[in-house]
Structure formats: C-alpha cells, structure tokens
C-alpha cells in the first residue's frame, strides 16, 4: 500500500507543479507586470525600482521558485484591478462559491436519486417519458439560458425570488454565510437549481442504470423468491448498492461544479470566485487569473487523488496498476 501511496502522491505533486508553472508563465509573460502595477506617469527610474523590487531581473528559474514559494504561503501578489492582495479577494469570495456548490450538490442528490429510482422501476411510465423528454432538451440548453429563463419566470414575472446577490449574510469569523437569514435562503435557490441541473441528470441516469442492473441480479431474485415485500427489495437491498458509485461520482464532480459556477455566478451576479475570475479575464487581471487556476488545479488533483486512494484502500487489485 505504501509504495502505491507514494507513487500516487508523487504524480499529484507533478501535476500541481505543472499547473504552477502554467500560472507562473501567465503571471510573468502575459502583459508586463511593471506597466500594469505602476502609475501611468511613473518615471523610468521608478519603473526600474519596481522591476527590481518585484525580482523581475532575476533569472527565470529563480523567479519560478520564488513564485511557488510565495504561492505555498498563500501569497499570490496584488490584484491589478482592485489593488488588494489576491489571497484576501479569494478568501472573501470562497464562502459564497462553496455554499453555492454545496447547495447545488444537495439539490442534485435530493432530486436526482428519487427520479432515477422511479424511472428504473417504471421505465415505461408517464413520469419516465416526461423526464426523458425534458433531459433531451436540457442537454442542448446552455446553463446561462436556463438561468435566464428561471429569472424571467420566478423573479421578473412572478416576483417570488430575487435574481441577483446573496441576500443578507452573517459573519462567522472570516466565513460569511447566507444560510442564517431568510433572504439568504431565498437568494441561493435559483442559482443552486441552475448549477444543479446538469449534475441532476447525471445522477439520475447513473441511479437508473445501476438500479436496472441490480434488479436483475441473483440476490434480488432470491429475495423475491423468499417473498420479501417490493418496498424492502427496492430500497433496502437495491438502492443501497446502487448509491456507492453515485456518491463517488458526486464527490469527483465537485471540482467541475466549482468551475461551472463561473457561468451561474455570472448570470445571478453571485459574489463568488467565479465572478471574480470572469472579471479578471475581462480586465486581464493576471494575478487573479493565475491564483484561480492554481486553486482549481489543486482542488481537482486533491479530489482525484483522494478518490484513487480510497479505491485502493477498498480494492487491493487497483494498487498494482497505479
């Protein structure tokens, strides 16, 4: 087990280093940091002093090492646009994005699993047909269109829910949460639903496929032969086993959700990291772009490594392949 663990973590480390290199190259060579950071009327001498103090005259490998060293300590420099440390900006925006992703995941599981079970048990039923039709159109509808349509229906026409922002937030230490106020709950519903839709169809299809396969297996037939009631067979025996892969996939998709939140946050003006990133792209705020890339890369690598290691713990055959 130990050699596998070391090899897997070594791989993860290499990928993180590659992403770090990409971030660094972007930081260093996209635009000129000195021009972006100094005043318009700065003299040549002032610019040169800034260049020296930023370490831009050092050899590039040394600069890379410094960049990584600072990144490890959470120092990603100063945002060109806001003139504030990037780490502060990210720390401020992180709770909003994580709460949105959390709410979307819960929503996707809470709706996706029952729909998957129902469509597996009654594949020719009316509900199954409706779900199939809706998901067909859903696959071809981009997230931002779904979001706009929800706003048009629930915010503009019916005026039930707000269309932008987080509502009232409560500070718990450095973490600001929207879950402690009624307006926070109202504000998160539409963005969470928009973000959850893709996940939901994925979970539904997965549960359906797993359930259909399991319901044909020998132990289910044996349980039927013994005369166990349907309800107990479907939910206690079949669903329990169908849920294992669902939970792993859901866990692995969290990184993707954080990235897809860019679009959702943009539609609902949700003050999270995605909105920060898209504004950074629009204004070529390179330090923020580089930090966001590092962050998402880290989340992806950590999730994938965690899943692989868990699998290896559960199934010894996987340890050999690495």
């Amino acid at each position: 087990m130990l050699p596998f663990l070391i090899r897997r973590l070594g791989q993860a480390f290499l990928v993180v280093l590659t992403v770090g290199l990409l971030s660094f190259l972007m930081f260093r060579f996209v635009g000129d940091p000195v021009v972006s950071m100094s005043r318009e009327d700065a003299t040549v001498a002032e610019r040169e002093a800034l260049r020296e103090s930023l370490g831009l005259n050092d050899p590039v490998p040394v600069q890379f090492a410094t960049f990584i060293g600072r990144a490890v300590q959470g120092d990603f420099g100063i945002s060109y646009r806001n003139q504030r440390p990037v780490s502060d900006l990210i720390a401020e925006r992180l709770p909003a994005t994580l709460e949105l992703v959390f709410a979307a995941t819960v929503l996707a599981l809470a709706i996706g699993i029952p729909l998957g079970v129902v469509t597996a048990l009654r594949p020719r039923g009316a509900l199954s047909n409706i779900v199939q039709g809706v998901s067909l159109v859903g696959v071809s509808t981009p997230t931002f269109v779904t979001g706009i349509m929800l706003i048009l229906l629930f915010a503009v026409t019916l005026r039930w829910l707000p269309s932008f922002g987080r509502g009232e937030t409560v500070d718990l230490g450095w973490w600001s949460t929207g879950f402690l106020s009624a307006s926070g709950w109202r504000a998160i519903f539409l963005p969470a639903l928009t973000l959850a839709l893709f996940q939901m169809t994925l979970i539904m299809r997965l549960v359906r496929a797993e359930m259909i396969e399991i319901l044909q297996s020998d132990y289910i037939r044996f349980a039927r032969a013994r005369g166990l009631p349907d309800r107990s067979i479907h939910y206690r025996l079949a669903l329990k086993n169908a849920l294992m892969p669902v939970l792993t996939i859901t866990g692995m998709q969290i990184g993707g959700l954080i990235a897809f939140a860019i679009v959702t946050e943009s539609v609902f003006q949700w003050p999270g990291m995605g909105l920060l990133f898209i504004q950074a792209v629009q204004f070529v705020d390179v330090p923020v772009m580089a930090a966001y890339l590092m962050f998402v890369g880290l989340v992806f690598v950590a999730l994938n490594a965690a899943v692989d290691v868990t699998y290896a713990l559960v199934d010894p055959r996987l340890r050999v392949r690495g």
């Binding site: 696959v139 071809s140 706009i148 048009l152 503009v156 860019i262 629009q282 070529v284 772009m289």
Partner: protein, 304 residues
C-alpha cells in the same frame, strides 16, 4: 429500424435515414437554420448593422402578435430599434461560422496528431496522449476562458474586436482536438497491424502515402460522427463565452452576445429580446445533437 444492407454502405445509410423520423426532422430543422443563417443578407427584413436606418421611435416594440406589435418587425425590436429577427439571422451566422471553423480546426489537428501518434508510437505518442489527458481533466469552460484571457493580455487593445473571432475559434478547438486524436490514434493502431498495410509497406510505399491514402480513409467515419456531435458543443461553447463577455463584441454579435445584451434589459419587461435568440440557439443545438446521435447509432464506429 434495422436496415437490411450493411450500415456502412451509402445506400444503407440513406435507407436508414429515410426510415427514421427523428433523423429526418432534426436534419431538416438543422439544414433550415443553417441555410437561413447562410443567406441572412438576402432574407433578413432589415440590416441590423445599418445604424442610420434605426429609429428610436421603433424601439422596444413587442412581437407582431402581442399588443402594440408592428407588422414591419415580426419578432419585435430591441432598445435601439433594431429588428430582432434580422439580428438573430446575422447572429446565428456568426455562431455557425465560429462553430464550423472550430470543428474544422480541431478535427484537422486532432486527426493528424492521432494518425502520427498511432503510427509512430514511442515518445511522440506518449507526449501527445499525456497532453490530451491534462486538457481533458480540466473543464472546457475554464481552459477556453484562460485562452481568451491570455489573448486579451497579449494582443493590442485596439485590435481586440478584429481578433475576437479567431481567439474564440482557438479557445474552443484547443479543447476539442483531444477527442479526435484519441479515437484516430486507437483506430490507426488497429489498422496499422492489418495485412493491407503490411502489404503496402512491403511494396515499398512511403509512410506518408500509407497514412494518407490507405489508413486515413479507414479512420474517417468516427471523425465524421465526432465532428457532427462537436458542432453542437462548439456552438454552445461560443454562446457561453460570448454571454460571459469574452467572446464576440457587440459590433459583431453572435447569438450569445445577443442574449447577453437582452439579459441586461430583462427587468424592463422586454422579454422578446432575450427569449427569441435563446430559443434559436437551443433549437439549433438540439437539432444538430439529435442528428449527431442518429448518425452515431447508424455508422456505429468505435469511439475512443
């Protein structure tokens, strides 16, 4: 459904097509939309770029069937008095140009790299496939946004609008070539071990000729299927980037840009400015996707 002839034979494919209502309807809708986008300058009732012809008196008119609609503007007008239907036709043209160009670029590069990787093997294969793995492990939207952000930083400010379309095509293609490369590589490895390739080698043909004349035709059917499916994805990706404000500029709007502009005025109740472009986008992508699905089932290639 099950055709008598072999599914790969052209006659069989046509027979299957005529037997499937899903295929015929989706192909008809897709073709209608593509043609009307192509002939936009001829069929559009107004010219959405001729600013001088706009009249602010005509602004924010609802569609013709709603109260206060004007028969000159079938789907209503926007805040500047621009005809929504004409804007959609021209916008769809831009969306499709980006979509087709991105598909052509990624299919070309992906097929070429896949052929080389599968035929040569060795370090070239290892490097290319690792690179493809890295790209595939990150979400499309993130990579596309990074490409667009870098392009904004590198290109001169004044020319951003002119280059926007090329940046978009590159940002989308950089994600999509991987799928062609992987599939073609696998198929090439299979083909390269078959007797006809050995025979060609023994008879002294150059490698380039073997790849181009003998292997390429045999790996094309999965490429066509992936290209059809990816056209829908490319149009969606373009729309998303333009909606986020890093795609096509307002002076040369695509469907995504139109939806972005309409979204800014959503609260004044001018729903038609956003709903019709959105509906057109969904219809276009849905019809292309359905046709792609059918083509995949009909040709049934091994997709890697």
């Amino acid at each position: 459904m099950s055709g008598v002839a072999s599914p790969s034979a052209p006659a069989g494919l046509m027979g299957q097509f005529l037997a499937s209502p899903k295929a015929m309807i989706s192909a008809a809708v897709a073709l209608l939309l593509i043609l009307s986008a192509g002939f936009a300058p001829l069929i559009a009732p107004h010219d959405p770029f001729a600013l001088g012809t706009f009249n602010l008196m005509d602004s924010e008119l609802p569609p013709v069937w709603a109260e206060g609609g004007d028969p000159r503007f079938l789907l209503g007008t926007d805040t500047q008095g621009r005809d929504v239907l004409s804007a959609i036709l021209y916008g769809m043209r831009v969306s499709l140009i980006v979509g087709f160009a991105a598909v052509a670029l990624s299919a070309g590069i992906g097929t070429l790299l896949g052929l080389l990787a599968g035929f040569r093997g060795g370090w070239l294969d290892a490097v290319l496939m690792r690179f493809a793995d890295v790209i595939l492990s990150f979400p499309t939207i993130l990579i596309a946004l990074l490409v667009s952000g870098i392009a904004r930083g590198v290109l001169p400010d004044a020319r951003q609008g002119d280059y926007a379309i090329y940046v978009l095509i590159l940002a989308i293609a950089i994600n999509e070539w991987t799928q062609y490369a992987r599939t073609v590589r696998g198929q090439t490895m299979v083909e390269a071990s078959l007797d006809y390739v050995k025979a060609a080698r023994i008879s002294g043909l150059a490698n380039g000729r073997i790849l181009g004349r003998h292997i390429l035709p045999n790996v094309l059917s999965p490429v066509i299927v992936i290209a059809t499916i990816n056209l829908g994805l490319a149009v969606l990706a373009e729309a998303t980037l333009s909606f986020l404000g890093v795609g096509m500029p307002v002076t040369q709007p695509s469907l995504g840009t139109l939806i972005r502009i309409g979204n800014e005025n959503l609260f004044s109740g001018v729903w038609w400015v956003v709903v019709f472009p959105a509906a057109t986008l969904v219809m276009l992508v849905l019809s292309v996707n359905l046709f792609g699905d059918w083509l995949r089932d009909a040709l049934n290639p091994r997709l890697g």
